[in-house]
Protein backbone atom coordinates (compact mmCIF):
# COMPACT_ATOMS: atom_id res chain seq x y z
CA UNK A 1 0.00 0.00 0.00
CA UNK A 2 2.79 2.37 0.92
CA UNK A 3 4.59 1.74 -2.40
CA UNK A 4 1.46 2.53 -4.39
CA UNK A 5 1.08 5.78 -2.50
CA UNK A 6 4.71 6.73 -3.17
CA UNK A 7 4.35 5.89 -6.85
CA UNK A 8 1.20 7.97 -7.13
CA UNK A 9 2.83 10.94 -5.45
CA UNK A 10 5.89 10.62 -7.66
CA UNK A 11 3.70 10.58 -10.80
CA UNK A 12 1.78 13.65 -9.66
CA UNK A 13 5.03 15.45 -8.86
CA UNK A 14 6.35 14.56 -12.32
CA UNK A 15 3.23 15.93 -14.02
CA UNK A 16 3.42 19.15 -12.03
CA UNK A 17 7.12 19.45 -12.82
CA UNK A 18 6.44 18.96 -16.53
CA UNK A 19 3.64 21.53 -16.54
CA UNK A 20 5.87 23.97 -14.66
CA UNK A 21 8.62 23.46 -17.24
CA UNK A 22 6.22 24.05 -20.12
CA UNK A 23 4.83 27.23 -18.57
CA UNK A 24 8.21 28.51 -17.38
CA UNK A 25 9.33 29.27 -20.94
CA UNK A 26 12.75 27.73 -20.26
CA UNK A 27 12.57 25.48 -23.33
CA UNK A 28 14.77 26.89 -26.14
CA UNK A 29 12.41 26.96 -29.13
CA UNK A 30 14.78 28.77 -31.52
CA UNK A 31 15.74 26.98 -34.74
CA UNK A 32 19.39 27.84 -34.08
CA UNK A 33 19.59 25.75 -30.90
CA UNK A 34 19.99 22.08 -31.90
CA UNK A 35 18.04 19.30 -30.18
CA UNK A 36 19.77 17.11 -27.63
CA UNK A 37 20.88 13.73 -28.96
CA UNK A 38 17.95 12.10 -27.18
CA UNK A 39 15.30 14.47 -28.57
CA UNK A 40 16.86 14.00 -31.98
CA UNK A 41 16.61 10.25 -31.72
CA UNK A 42 12.98 10.43 -30.57
CA UNK A 43 11.93 12.76 -33.38
CA UNK A 44 13.78 10.97 -36.15
CA UNK A 45 12.62 7.53 -35.09
CA UNK A 46 9.07 8.82 -34.73
CA UNK A 47 9.24 10.32 -38.26
CA UNK A 48 10.83 7.30 -39.91
CA UNK A 49 8.54 4.75 -38.29
CA UNK A 50 5.46 6.84 -39.02
CA UNK A 51 6.29 7.31 -42.71
CA UNK A 52 7.27 3.66 -43.07
CA UNK A 53 3.95 2.50 -41.66
CA UNK A 54 1.80 4.99 -43.55
CA UNK A 55 3.48 4.40 -46.91
CA UNK A 56 3.95 0.64 -46.93
CA UNK A 57 0.90 -0.14 -49.10
CA UNK A 58 1.46 2.58 -51.68
CA UNK A 59 1.67 1.16 -55.20
CA UNK A 60 4.65 2.58 -57.08
CA UNK A 61 3.96 3.18 -60.81
CA UNK A 62 6.65 2.73 -63.49
CA UNK A 63 9.00 5.60 -62.71
CA UNK A 64 11.30 4.96 -65.70
CA UNK A 65 8.95 6.79 -68.07
CA UNK A 66 10.85 9.76 -69.63
CA UNK A 67 7.57 11.70 -69.78
CA UNK A 68 7.48 11.72 -65.97
CA UNK A 69 10.96 13.26 -65.83
CA UNK A 70 9.95 15.96 -68.28
CA UNK A 71 6.86 16.71 -66.23
CA UNK A 72 8.43 16.52 -62.76
CA UNK A 73 11.61 18.49 -63.50
CA UNK A 74 10.09 21.96 -63.90
CA UNK A 75 7.85 21.45 -60.85
CA UNK A 76 10.87 20.57 -58.73
CA UNK A 77 12.82 23.55 -60.00
CA UNK A 78 9.99 25.97 -59.25
CA UNK A 79 8.76 24.67 -55.90
CA UNK A 80 11.51 22.71 -54.17
CA UNK A 81 14.96 23.83 -55.24
CA UNK A 82 15.19 26.65 -52.68
CA UNK A 83 15.18 24.12 -49.86
CA UNK A 84 16.46 20.92 -51.49
CA UNK A 85 19.14 22.31 -53.85
CA UNK A 86 20.27 21.37 -57.35
CA UNK A 87 23.34 19.78 -58.99
CA UNK A 88 26.29 22.17 -58.93
CA UNK A 89 24.29 24.71 -56.91
CA UNK A 90 25.20 26.32 -53.62
CA UNK A 91 23.59 26.04 -50.20
CA UNK A 92 20.66 28.43 -49.87
CA UNK A 93 19.39 30.58 -47.02
CA UNK A 94 16.53 28.14 -46.51
CA UNK A 95 18.74 25.05 -46.62
CA UNK A 96 21.05 26.56 -44.02
CA UNK A 97 18.49 28.22 -41.80
CA UNK A 98 15.77 25.61 -41.47
CA UNK A 99 15.77 23.20 -38.55
CA UNK A 100 15.36 20.31 -39.14
CA UNK A 101 17.51 21.02 -42.20
CA UNK A 102 15.99 20.01 -45.55
CA UNK A 103 17.91 17.02 -46.92
CA UNK A 104 20.05 17.74 -50.00
CA UNK A 105 18.09 15.72 -52.54
CA UNK A 106 20.92 15.81 -55.08
CA UNK A 107 22.98 13.58 -52.79
CA UNK A 108 20.81 10.49 -52.59
CA UNK A 109 17.24 9.38 -53.24
CA UNK A 110 15.33 7.50 -50.58
CA UNK A 111 12.62 4.91 -51.27
CA UNK A 112 10.01 6.20 -53.78
CA UNK A 113 7.14 5.34 -51.40
CA UNK A 114 8.72 7.41 -48.67
CA UNK A 115 9.31 10.32 -51.05
CA UNK A 116 5.77 10.19 -52.41
CA UNK A 117 4.30 10.15 -48.94
CA UNK A 118 6.51 12.98 -47.66
CA UNK A 119 5.66 15.17 -50.65
CA UNK A 120 1.92 14.49 -50.51
CA UNK A 121 1.47 14.85 -46.75
CA UNK A 122 4.41 17.02 -45.69
CA UNK A 123 6.16 16.62 -42.34
CA UNK A 124 4.83 18.22 -39.15
CA UNK A 125 6.86 20.87 -37.36
CA UNK A 126 9.40 21.08 -40.15
CA UNK A 127 9.59 23.31 -43.22
CA UNK A 128 8.29 20.51 -45.44
CA UNK A 129 4.83 21.47 -46.74
CA UNK A 130 2.08 19.03 -47.78
CA UNK A 131 1.70 19.34 -51.53
CA UNK A 132 -1.25 16.93 -51.66
CA UNK A 133 -3.96 19.58 -51.23
CA UNK A 134 -2.74 21.44 -54.32
CA UNK A 135 -1.26 18.71 -56.54
CA UNK A 136 -2.76 15.40 -57.71
CA UNK A 137 -1.01 12.03 -57.25
CA UNK A 138 0.04 11.90 -60.90
CA UNK A 139 1.97 15.12 -60.59
CA UNK A 140 3.57 14.06 -57.31
CA UNK A 141 4.72 10.77 -58.86
CA UNK A 142 6.33 12.77 -61.67
CA UNK A 143 8.36 14.65 -59.04
CA UNK A 144 9.28 11.36 -57.37
CA UNK A 145 10.47 9.97 -60.72
CA UNK A 146 12.59 13.08 -61.14
CA UNK A 147 13.98 12.81 -57.58
CA UNK A 148 15.03 9.21 -58.22
CA UNK A 149 17.26 10.42 -61.09
CA UNK A 150 18.33 13.73 -59.54
CA UNK A 151 21.50 12.43 -57.79
CA UNK A 152 22.98 11.32 -61.12
CA UNK A 153 22.16 14.48 -63.14
CA UNK A 154 24.88 16.91 -64.22
CA UNK A 155 24.13 20.65 -63.93
CA UNK A 156 23.59 20.78 -67.74
CA UNK A 157 21.18 17.85 -67.74
CA UNK A 158 19.37 19.42 -64.81
CA UNK A 159 18.98 22.70 -66.68
CA UNK A 160 17.52 21.01 -69.76
CA UNK A 161 15.10 18.82 -67.84
CA UNK A 162 13.83 21.58 -65.58
CA UNK A 163 13.45 24.46 -68.04
CA UNK A 164 9.79 24.96 -68.74
CA UNK A 165 9.54 24.78 -72.50
CA UNK A 166 6.97 27.31 -73.67
CA UNK A 167 6.02 25.35 -76.74
CA UNK A 168 5.35 22.17 -74.83
CA UNK A 169 1.73 22.02 -73.75
CA UNK A 170 1.35 21.25 -70.07
CA UNK A 171 -1.55 18.94 -69.48
CA UNK A 172 -1.93 18.73 -65.74
CA UNK A 173 -3.82 21.29 -63.77
Amino acid sequence: MATIKTLLLATIALCIGLAAFIYSGAYPVGADVPHTAFTNWVLETLRDRSIERASKDIQVPDLDDPELLIEGGPDYNEMCVGCHLKPGGKESELSQGLYPAPPDLTKRASDPRRQFWAIKHGIKASGMPAWGPTHDDQRIWAMVAFLQKLPELTPQQYQILTARDEEAPDHHH
Binding site: D64, D65, P66, E67, L69, I70, G73, P74, D75, E78, M79, T134, H135, K149, E152, L153, T154, Q156, Q157, Q159, I160, L161, A163, R164, D165, E166, E167, A168, D170, H173
Partner: protein
Protein backbone atom coordinates in the same frame (compact mmCIF):
# COMPACT_ATOMS: atom_id res chain seq x y z
CA UNK B 1 0.88 52.55 -35.69
CA UNK B 2 -0.60 49.53 -33.92
CA UNK B 3 -3.13 48.98 -36.68
CA UNK B 4 -0.41 48.58 -39.27
CA UNK B 5 1.02 45.32 -37.99
CA UNK B 6 -2.11 43.20 -38.54
CA UNK B 7 -2.63 44.98 -41.83
CA UNK B 8 0.88 44.10 -42.89
CA UNK B 9 0.40 40.48 -41.92
CA UNK B 10 -2.85 40.23 -43.86
CA UNK B 11 -1.24 41.81 -46.92
CA UNK B 12 1.66 39.40 -46.65
CA UNK B 13 -0.62 36.40 -46.40
CA UNK B 14 -2.66 37.56 -49.36
CA UNK B 15 0.49 38.01 -51.41
CA UNK B 16 1.58 34.51 -50.53
CA UNK B 17 -1.82 33.11 -51.46
CA UNK B 18 -1.66 34.83 -54.82
CA UNK B 19 1.68 33.12 -55.44
CA UNK B 20 0.16 29.64 -55.11
CA UNK B 21 1.62 27.38 -57.69
CA UNK B 22 0.23 27.39 -61.19
CA UNK B 23 2.54 26.45 -64.04
CA UNK B 24 0.96 28.99 -66.38
CA UNK B 25 2.18 31.79 -64.08
CA UNK B 26 5.75 30.79 -64.69
CA UNK B 27 5.55 31.14 -68.44
CA UNK B 28 7.03 34.62 -68.77
CA UNK B 29 10.12 34.01 -66.66
CA UNK B 30 10.63 30.53 -68.11
CA UNK B 31 14.10 29.94 -69.46
CA UNK B 32 14.64 27.79 -72.51
CA UNK B 33 16.40 24.45 -72.19
CA UNK B 34 20.05 25.02 -73.10
CA UNK B 35 20.27 22.18 -75.56
CA UNK B 36 23.62 23.23 -76.95
CA UNK B 37 25.10 21.52 -73.89
CA UNK B 38 23.59 18.29 -75.14
CA UNK B 39 25.95 18.29 -78.11
CA UNK B 40 28.95 18.19 -75.77
CA UNK B 41 27.45 15.26 -73.91
CA UNK B 42 27.96 13.12 -77.02
CA UNK B 43 24.58 11.54 -77.50
CA UNK B 44 26.04 8.57 -79.37
CA UNK B 45 27.89 7.43 -76.30
CA UNK B 46 24.84 7.85 -74.07
CA UNK B 47 22.68 4.85 -73.25
CA UNK B 48 19.55 5.10 -75.38
CA UNK B 49 17.64 2.88 -72.97
CA UNK B 50 18.24 5.29 -70.11
CA UNK B 51 15.10 7.32 -69.31
CA UNK B 52 17.22 10.41 -68.56
CA UNK B 53 18.79 10.24 -72.03
CA UNK B 54 15.39 9.71 -73.61
CA UNK B 55 13.93 12.67 -71.74
CA UNK B 56 16.86 14.93 -72.69
CA UNK B 57 16.60 14.00 -76.37
CA UNK B 58 12.84 14.40 -76.36
CA UNK B 59 13.05 17.81 -74.76
CA UNK B 60 15.70 19.02 -77.19
CA UNK B 61 14.41 17.45 -80.39
CA UNK B 62 12.58 20.60 -81.50
CA UNK B 63 15.54 22.88 -80.86
CA UNK B 64 18.24 20.71 -82.37
CA UNK B 65 16.32 19.59 -85.45
CA UNK B 66 13.75 22.28 -86.23
CA UNK B 67 13.91 21.21 -89.91
CA UNK B 68 12.37 17.83 -89.11
CA UNK B 69 8.78 18.90 -89.57
CA UNK B 70 6.02 16.89 -91.25
CA UNK B 71 6.06 17.25 -95.08
CA UNK B 72 2.85 19.25 -95.16
CA UNK B 73 4.33 22.09 -93.09
CA UNK B 74 7.21 22.77 -95.49
Amino acid sequence: MKIFTPLLIVTLLLTLAAQAHDPSQHKDKAEKPQCAALKDMDIKKMDKQDPVTQALIKKCMKQLHPEEKPETEK
